[in-house]
């Protein structure tokens, strides 16, 4: 009471904190400007380029021109789906087994799975190519054993292998994180209630780690469908994916418009598949009693 009477000139605390709140809200202004200028505006430019011809007139021709790239789209989607599925099939058991190791071993395995993630993608891809190339170690070993060399680089298999190799850690890490958060008592409870190993897996472990699977699938699918370095190196330039085509189209001013249209379509494709997947995972999650 006494203190208050000493400071009669101060505005009442409520309005002072309101004032302070307004100043704090203003702290977001530079950030808001930045996002509008460098995130929203570029997206609008993609739209603009996708729906205009070289002279700036409105046209749908870029979108219809994409018809010639139908095969590229199908191949890209198929590759990304296959690579994601393989990563899930390999990565899910790996994450499960990792989470069953001792604390100490888990820590080491974490470092080992993160090291490739921290290495640049170019380096990993280049290393894999060096190993599998026609003049590489694998084929020279096969030759010394008197076997036929495997033409992996330049084949569909090679590109998919590259995607799996590069992005597997991105699948394993979120699933592993979900696994470590899983309360082991649930598993014991399911055994007590008469589940066998498989039932525990499908009814307890899988539903409870679905969030990790969803983020893992996203983190593998999105870079797989949009990559161009992997197909350049492990496809030996013979296999064209959406990423390669976009990259090529943006090397020449005259094809910017088609390139923008293609980027737009890819963005929409990814958006649709992510929405479907999130919906699917929500439903699955909802089924857990």
């Amino acid at each position: 009471m006494k203190k208050h009477s000493l400071r009669k000139t101060d505005p009442p605390p409520a309005s002072r904190s309101a004032q302070r709140n307004i100043f704090q809200q203003l702290a977001a202004v530079p950030h808001a400007f930045w996002t509008v200028l460098f995130i929203a505006a570029p997206m609008l430019f993609v739209l603009y380029f996708a729906f205009t011809d070289g002279n700036g007139n409105f046209s749908f021709s870029n979108i219809t021109d994409l018809g010639q790239y139908t095969n590229v789209f199908i191949l890209s989607i198929a590759f990304a789906l296959i690579a994601t599925a393989i990563c899930l099939i390999i990565g899910y058991p790996l994450a499960y087994f990792m989470s069953r190791q001792s604390q100490r071993a888990q820590k080491i395995l974490m470092v080992l799975i993160m090291l490739p993630m921290w290495c640049n993608l170019l380096i990993r891809t280049y290393a894999l190519m060096a190993l599998l190339d026609n003049g590489g170690l694998l084929n020279s070993l096969l030759k010394n054993l008197g076997l036929e060399p495997l033409p992996i680089v330049g084949s569909y298999f090679g590109v998919i292998l590259g995607m799996v190799y590069d992005f597997l850690p991105y699948m394993v890490l979120p699933i592993f994180t979900a696994m470590t958060k899983l309360d082991y008592r649930y598993i014991e409870a399911s055994h007590d209630l008469g589940c066998n190993g498989l039932q525990t897996m499908t009814r307890v472990v899988m539903p409870l780690t679905l969030s990790g699977v969803v983020s893992g699938v996203t983190m593998v699918f999105v870079p797989s469908i949009s990559t161009f370095y992997i197909s350049q190196k492990l496809g030996a330039g013979k296999i064209d994916l959406v990423g390669d085509t976009i990259e090529r189209l943006f090397q020449n001013v005259s094809t910017y418009n088609v390139g923008a249209a293609m980027s737009l379509v890819m963005m929409i494709l990814i958006l649709i598949s992510l929405t479907i997947m999130n919906k699917f995972s929500d439903e699955e999650g909802g089924m857990v009693p």
Binding site: Q24, Q25, L26, A27, A28, P30, H31, A32, W34, T35, F38, I39, A40, P42, M43, F45, V46, P93, L94, F97, R100, Q101, K107, L109, V111, L112, M114, L115, P116, W118, N120, L122, I123, R124, Y126, A127, L128, A130, L131, D133, G135, L137, S140, Y165, L168, P169, V222, P223, S226, F228, Y229, G243, I246, E247, F250, A260, S263, M266, I270, L274
Partner: protein, 270 residues
């Protein structure tokens, strides 16, 4: 079962590491062949260390990573503060959605969209020299922003308002209360934002590829250009060095982390 699972883990990690190990071993190969190891040499490393382009690329990468991490963290921290205090959903929601776009989009779309913006601005200004450090800096700050918000925002949300009020009741001015009570709570988020931005920026190739010019190369762009056509053994040496540096950092962080753990546990016991 236990044995089988250990076998499975070993097998996958073995496959994951063979290419990297082969790359490191063959970076010391005398003959410049990937087929067989003929003799030990440091020649490729010597070639790398005499390559001025590699050093300027390294310098550019560090410069870009430090400056973009700093700008993104400052911008994003104030942004997170403002957005946290913002009560109007119709302003807050669109800004958050916009911020997250670079995180959701594939890198190639982010890169292409920024390139189109810069191309349009360049043709508006009638200049050709727009691309370079400036455009790279803008692009890197932009793709770092969502990660900064992601690591700082929860810190603001976890702040206990009554703590700051208590500080003010005990005689702190509002700004003093902010620096003494709220800031220490937020700092871990800011530090992780800085580190994440720094590594993301250092690692980025795809977005940089679209907004750079030949006279300002970062390390990943340099590797890309060097490996575009032919096999270069000095690139194996460079990659081996990068892997070694990352390994040392990861081990150091982990070791420091567990040492601190042990210390705090000991402290708790005594």
């Amino acid at each position: 079962m236990k044995f089988l699972s250990k076998c499975y883990i070993s097998l996958i990690f073995f496959l994951l590491y063979i290419p990297i190990v082969v790359l490191i071993v063959f970076s010391f190969n005398e003959s410049g062949s990937l087929a067989e190891f003929s003799g030990f040499t440091l020649g490729w490393y010597e070639e790398l260390f005499h390559d001025d382009e590699a050093f300027s690329a390294l310098r550019n990468s560090l410069l870009l990573a430090i400056s973009s991490a700093f700008i993104a963290t400052v911008l994003g921290t104030f942004g997170a503060l403002g957005l946290h205090r913002m009560r109007r959903r119709y302003i807050r929601k669109p800004i958050m959605t916009l911020t997250n776009i670079p995180m959701m989009n594939p890198d190639i779309v982010t890169g292409v969209s920024m390139m189109l913006l810069f191309v349009a601005v360049a043709s508006f200004l009638g200049t050709r020299e727009l691309f370079g450090f400036g455009t790279l800096l803008i692009a890197h700050v932009t793709f770092n922003l969502p990660y900064v918000i992601l690591s700082v925002m929860p810190r603001f949300q976890q702040l206990d308002k009554s703590l700051s009020e208590a500080a003010q009741d005990l005689g702190c001015t509002p700004s003093k209360a902010f620096f003494k009570v709220e800031l220490p709570e937020i700092i871990p988020g800011i530090v992780s934002a800085l580190m994440m931005s720094f590594t993301l920026s250092l690692d980025d190739f795809v977005i940089s590829h679209f907004v750079s010019s030949p006279n300002f190369q970062t390390l990943p762009l340099y590797v890309y250009n060097q490996t575009a056509h032919n096999v270069k053994f000095s690139m194996y040496a460079l990659s081996a060095l990068i892997v070694a540096v990352i390994l040392v950092i990861l081990l150091a962080v982990n070791f420091a982390g567990s040492a601190a753990d042990r210390k705090s546990r000991k402290g708790g016991r005594s």
